[in-house]
């Protein structure tokens, strides 16, 4: 019955789209509305904002899940969230934070900033960019709907088999995990591919590779990692789906399968994933530290080199997540050495940041505070990382809170602080308003102190033997005080995040209008108005060196030199097909989760194929913005 209703609704939906609607006037009105504009946009700046907003939304959800877990662990033998509920919370917290918060928040910044930094009018594939965003959103929604329909996944964010197979996880939870991540993973892959082509083909005249800003560089490498890492996840999820839904035997030991294959596939993807979320954060730090120290980034070339090396080595170390599987001393030794090698390029980066600040005119704006707070926090996470890289020691640490402390130091201390720094830094360019500095400083201090209070004790909890992923612990074995401390620490992070939310709200209501270049910036995005106009650059800029905009300012120029005369600018037209295709995937995913009857799943795929045909036959000539319109817009800005 439910399937039938969905079938009818979607048949109506499709006819409405194809015929232009039953009520022409209402459709016309809707098509002119802001909502339709955002739903069909292919503008990288709007897509960036949408990525950022949905990423932040999922960040809040993941945060609430974390708070629930800490509330359960505040005292021994607590009974607030036990058993399956706790497992669901911890699984969804990890999955949400990695896939649905960290990546889209970074993608939001990348979308908003990269084309501006390389002096391009748009990304290489505006259509695919929109498609990537909507697929991610569809996957994220599907994953989170599991809370309401049938129960959330509960086999950990790594979803190891055999635990994740039907016998041990009978509900639909893991199906949501498999299909939700598959759909959002395809979106991420498309997004990454788009950024690589953008950086290679769309750079402004004179913007050579070694003049590219550091954030563009790190995002470029992170995108390459996405390109090569996500296929492994795709395969892993596909095989797990086959095992769970179609009776295959990849991971079922009784039928000759091997659960180690899942671990391999997951970590071949999973380790590069760690660098996918940390490298863009490194880039943000480089931009922020250089700008607010008023100095050229120290050792730019070595920074680029280090980024490339980290990216490459990121693929050669995945077995360090599997030291205790028993792959043998050879395998463990090789991967241990490779893992420790990564500390070298990362060390290069840390020293370069310190030397950039050395002797600079440092201004402690909120973005810079986050960058400065990031360095020691991240270094601590890196140190425990090297400790974990030693196989004999890892046998002691594995599956304890020590590991939890380690990766939160790296992911919160690195990625989340990086995202916050980037948000404060680029907010004016994205939204045209300045975030409040006082609230920003409250945000930084409460968040930083709360973070360390939460996670520093967890190192010791781990060393004292507290296992991760377990919903309770014994009294009188020395775990009470540290757990209590850890839970109290979350209050700081909550206050910090609330301060950020409050800051956003009051900024939208009555924030100061941002000037074009509020921070005395160095890179191209600060040479145009805030927020950037639809076409980004009225004339493509001519880049004459690294830190192109700062160079021109030093030379006394008020604007970037133009590489072309003012002319009409070609823009891609908006399209609803990305949204339609993502809805198709969403319906299909939902159909496959509801086992037994696959008609809805197949219907979804049919929608996808119809959308693909529509796109293929669609001749998109776009539209043009004429020079006089650009001049009028410029006058408006100056007046």
């Amino acid at each position: 019955m439910g399937t039938l209703i969905v079938l009818i609704v979607f048949a109506l939906f499709i006819t409405a789209i194809l015929t232009g609607g039953y009520n022409k006037e209402a459709i016309e009105k809707f098509k002119k509305s802001k909502a339709w504009d955002w739903l069909t946009t292919v503008d990288h700046k709007k897509i960036g904002i949408m990525y950022f907003i949905s990423g932040f939304f999922f960040f809040l959800i993941g945060g609430i899940e974390a708070i629930f877990m800490r509330m359960q662990l505040i005292v021994p033998h607590n009974d607030l969230f036990v058993g399956d509920t706790f497992n669901q919370l911890l699984t969804m917290h990890g999955t949400t934070m990695i896939f649905l918060a960290a990546m889209p928040l970074l993608f939001g910044l990348m979308n908003a900033v990269i084309p501006l930094q390389i002096g391009a009018r748009d990304v290489a594939f505006p259509f695919l960019n929109a498609l990537g965003f909507w697929l991610f959103t569809a996957g994220g929604l599907l994953l989170n709907l599991s809370w309401i329909f049938g129960g959330a996944p509960d086999a950990g964010w790594t979803s190891y088999t055999t635990l994740a197979l039907n016998d041990y996880s009978p509900g639909p939870g893991i199906d949501y995990y498999v299909l939700g991540l598959q759909i959002s993973g395809i979106g991420t892959l498309i997004g990454g591919l788009n950024f690589i082509v953008t950086v290679i083909n769309m750079r402004a005249p004179g913007m050579t590779f070694l003049r590219m800003p550091m954030f563009t560089w790190t995002s470029f490498i992170a995108s390459a990692l996405i390109l090569f890492a996500f296929p492994a996840l795709t395969v892993g999820l596909l095989l797990l789906m086959f095992d769970r839904l179609f009776g295959a035997n990849f991971f079922d030991h009784a039928m000759g399968g091997s659960s180690v294959i899942w671990e391999h596939l997951f970590w071949i993807f999973g380790h590069p994933e760690v660098y996918i979320v940390i490298l863009p954060a490194f880039g943000i730090m480089s931009e922020v530290i250089s700008t607010f120290s008023k100095k050229r980034l120290f050792g730019y070339t070595s920074m680029v080199f280090a980024t490339v090396v980290i990216g490459f080595l990121g693929f050669m170390v995945w077995v360090h997540h599997m030291f205790t599987v028993g792959l043998g001393p050879w395998s463990n030794s090789v991967f241990a050495v490779a893992t420790m090698t990564i500390a070298v390029p990362t060390g290069i980066k840390v020293f370069n940041w310190l030397f950039t600040m050395w002797g600079g005119q440092i201004r402690f704006k909120t973005a810079m505070l986050f960058a400065v707070g990031f360095i020691p926090t991240f270094v601590m996470g890196g140190m425990t990382g090297v400790m974990l890289a030693l196989p004999p020691a890892d046998f002691q640490y594995q599956d304890s809170y020590f590991v939890v402390a380690h990766f939160h130091y790296v992911l919160v201390g690195g990625t989340v602080m990086g995202i916050f720094a980037g948000a404060y830094y680029w907010w004016p360019k994205m939204f045209g308003k300045m975030l409040n500095e006082t609230l920003g400083k409250i945000h930084f201090w409460t968040f930083l102190i709360g973070f360390h209070l939460t996670f520093f004790p967890q190192h010791f909890l781990g060393l004292f033997g507290m296992p991760r992923r377990v919903f309770t612990y014994q009294a009188n074995v020395g775990l009470e005080q540290l757990n209590m401390l850890s839970t109290i620490g979350t209050i700081g992070m909550v206050i910090g995040t609330l301060a950020f939310v409050f800051n956003i709200v009051i900024t939208f209501k009555k924030g100061a209008k941002a000037p074009a270049d509020p921070w005395d910036g160095r890179t191209l995005e600060w040479s145009i108005s805030s927020p950037a106009p639809e076409y980004n650059f009225a004339q493509l800029p001519l880049v004459r060196g690294y830190d192109a905009w700062f160079m021109e300012k030093q030379a006394g120029n008020k604007e970037m030199p133009a590489a072309e005369p003012l002319g009409s600018i070609h823009m891609p037209s908006p399209s609803f097909i990305p949204l339609l295709m993502s809805i198709g995937f969403f319906v299909s995913g939902f159909g496959f989760v509801a086992r037994g009857d696959y008609s809805m799943g197949i219907l979804g795929l049919i929608i996808v194929f119809i959308a693909m045909f529509m796109r293929s036959f669609d001749q998109d000539h776009g539209y043009h913005i004429e020079p006089h319109e650009i001049e009028e817009a410029n006058k408006g800005v100056k007046a």
Binding site: A124, F125, L128, L189, L193, N194, I196, V197, I200, N201, M202, L227, F228, A229, F230, P231, A232, T234, V235, G236, L238, L239, F242, D243, F246, G247, A248, N249, F250, D252, M255, G256, G257, S258, I261, H264, L265, I268, F613, S616, F617, Q619
Partner: protein
């Protein structure tokens, strides 16, 4: 025909129509990147298959199942379709619309016959008791070869779609990059097949 007028109207068409515009360049580069990702995807499937290929759980193994004559025929067909695909691209760059459509048509037909052989082969295997659910060997075999087959199916549909577009619009700066990347895709399918016949069928026959 739209195509002929197109040819006469533009005597100074560049030699490589597919990368004549920025959009075309983006498309071709983007597609190469996609193929890089596909390489990793197939590598994971190959790894899984090779790790599990001896887990037949008492069912028939590769040595009993595989018929090398059938595989040789399928290989010859797919290799030939790769040649016809590259010839079509050559004709496209010479703006020879009719010859291009002819070669593309042959490519699609060869692809379809390859697919027919594969379906016949799969049905035969199922009768022998070698199914997707019978063992880890079965699952990984059908996952790998089936994914390749799905790629062939998609390629056939895609190239047919583009033939219709070319018939409507002729060889233009918009259609050329699409045709070119579909041909890259087709070659890539052939590359994957080279490893499938080597590592699945030939190695399976050796034991």
């Amino acid at each position: 025909m739209a195509a002929q007028t197109e040819v006469k109207a533009n005597p100074n068409m560049p030699n490589h129509l597919e990368t004549a515009t920025l959009d075309g360049k983006n498309k071709v580069l983007g597609f190469w990147l996609f193929l890089g990702a596909e390489t990793v995807l197939f590598a994971c499937l190959f790894g899984t298959y090779l790790a599990l290929r001896n887990q037949t759980m008492g069912g028939p193994d590769g040595q009993e199942l595989f018929d090398l004559k059938l595989v040789a025929a399928a290989t010859a067909i797919l290799l030939t379709s790769s040649l016809t695909s590259v010839l079509a691209m050559m004709k496209m760059n010479q703006l020879n619309y009719k010859a291009m459509q002819l070669w593309l048509g042959i490519t699609v037909l060869l692809g379809a016959s390859f697919l027919g052989l594969e379906i016949y082969e799969f049905i035969h295997y199922v009768h022998e008791g070698h199914t997707f659910m019978s063992s880890a060997f079965g699952s990984s075999f059908y996952a790998l070869v089936g994914t390749h087959g799905a790629h062939v199916t998609f390629g056939i549909i895609w190239i047919s779609t583009l033939m219709i577009q070319a018939a409507k619009r002729g060889i233009t700066k918009e259609t050329a990059p699409k045709l070119f990347v579909s041909s890259l895709y087709w070659h890539f399918i052939d590359v994957v097949w080279v490893f499938i016949f080597s590592l699945v069928y030939l190695l399976g026959k050796v034991g």
